[in-house]
């Protein structure tokens, strides 16, 4: 028995500049201002389908008509239609709503970005002096923690996990803000004393899947696209070394390629050329810095100071290399 809930009773919300109406509540999102004009192609509808998922294979599948389905075991099945304007959610019985929204604002948002011609970069993003600055890197590298430290110094949060970048003007990449909540592990929430403003996942403390979604920003969320000023490549913090260095050419490209959010999904959607073009444009237009920093959380403010200082003295890549060589570098698709 299948029933499709088309009552889009929640919203409209704003997400990456899109107008979202939903059959499930999305409390992380900010409300779309009724005074704001919108076009039909900016609309996304999230509907709920209550049915057994037995017929749906776990994993990601792009069908021949251009639709996409994604099933996360123990959470939900998600379908995105070929036009990327409808998302159908089929939750598993008893699923933690926060966990479900975590996947909706992660993998599903990345699919929407790919399908709608945006580049989804894995990272957290804050607004520094009117421009967007992204902290990108593998899970556990400390992106959200560093972003939170900067928010506490007065810089608004633009997004966490998926940074939707609009490259329709290649010379001026723009960051489209998502929502000002940050996903943190409990020790970071304790460190920042954010417990009061945090919604926790249902998984027991100390168990995998236990995390909090913290509302860390008292001011109104920013909804308009913001010019992207810099990307910081984060490794897991180690040692006491502090500093930054500019990644050039292929190193910047290779880093961005590795941090395309679910890049393998973009390639499975047949969007190799779009993905390649976006990464190349981004590497050419926006400085990518490697950021070395100390592990200790009590030195986080020093790192934040370094970022603030760097942002005020951003320099574009320069230099000429006249030697002739080819070089293969690591990259590619893991299916």
């Amino acid at each position: 028995m299948t029933s499709l809930n088309n009552t889009l009773q929640y919203g409209p919300y704003v997400l990456c500049g899109w107008r979202v109406e939903s059959a499930i509540p999305l409390p992380e999102l900010t409300v779309w201002s009724e005074a704001r004009e919108w076009n039909a192609d900016e609309a996304i509808r999230i509907q709920l389908q209550e049915s057994s998922l037995d017929d749906t294979a776990v994993g990601f599948c792009a069908n021949s008509e251009g639709g996409v389905s994604l099933r996360v075991k123990g959470v939900a099945g998600f379908r995105v239609n070929p036009g990327a304007d409808y998302v159908t959610v089929r939750p598993e019985a008893g699923v933690d709503p926060l966990l479900l929204r975590g996947h909706l604002f992660g993998s599903v948002l990345a699919i929407l970005c790919y399908r709608r011609g945006l580049f989804p970069l894995h990272g957290s993003c804050v607004l520094l002096d009117g421009e967007a600055v992204v902290f990108s890197g593998a899970s556990g590298a400390g992106k959200s923690t560093l972003a939170t430290a900067l928010v506490r110094r007065g810089h608004p949060l633009l997004c966490d996990d998926v940074c939707a970048i609009d490259l329709s003007n290649p010379m001026r990449p723009m960051l489209r803000p998502a929502f000002p909540r940050v996903k943190l592990l409990p020790d970071a929430i304790d460190c920042f004393q954010l417990g009061v403003t945090t919604t926790y996942s249902q998984a027991a403390q100390g168990m995998k899947g236990h995390f909090g979604m913290a509302a860390i920003q008292p001011i109104e969320a920013i909804q308009q696209p913001v010019p992207l000023a810099a990307i910081y490549a984060l490794d897991a913090p180690a040692g006491d070394k502090m500093g930054r260095s500019l990644l050039r050419g292929k190193n910047a490209f290779a880093f961005l390629e590795s941090q395309a959010h679910r890049g393998w999904m973009g390639r499975n959607l047949g969007l190799h050329n779009q993905l390649f073009g976006h990464i190349a444009m981004l590497a050419a237009a926006v400085p990518v810095y490697r950021l070395d920093r100390a592990r200790a959380l009590d030195r986080l403010d020093e790192v934040a100071c370094l970022v603030e200082a760097t942002h005020n003295t951003v320099c574009m890549p320069a230099g000429q290399e006249l030697c002739q060589e080819t070089e293969q570098f690591e990259g590619g698709c893991s299916l």
Partner: protein, 95 residues
């Protein structure tokens, strides 16, 4: 490969300049190459198939060196592209 060998790009490669490097990707395999300096210029010149000697003459003009002096490096570079399946080399027709 000789001066008269005709060089053409293989299909399936896309390329973009990043800083002063030309980054190339083979779309199907997601295999990447990074061409620096005049390597990127050679790839641009191969937009239309041309002979090794024509390449040497054009690069000689652009970089202000004798075509004969450019030849060893051009040949070595083309060998690398061939090894990575980025170009095809057509032998000159026998007279």
């Amino acid at each position: 490969m000789t001066d008269n060998s005709l060089i053409s790009r293989r299909e399936g490669w896309i390329a973009a300049w990043v800083d002063n490097n030309l980054i190339m990707m083979h779309a199907e395999s997601s295999f990447y190459l990074n061409l620096t300096g005049s390597g990127g210029r050679i790839w641009e010149l191969l937009e239309s198939p041309c002979s090794v000697w024509d390449l040497c003459k054009t690069l000689g003009r652009e970089f202000d060196i004798e075509p004969d002096a450019a030849r060893p490096e051009v040949l070595a570079f083309l060998d690398q592209l061939l090894l990575r399946k980025a170009i095809d080399v057509h032998l000159p027709a026998l007279a």
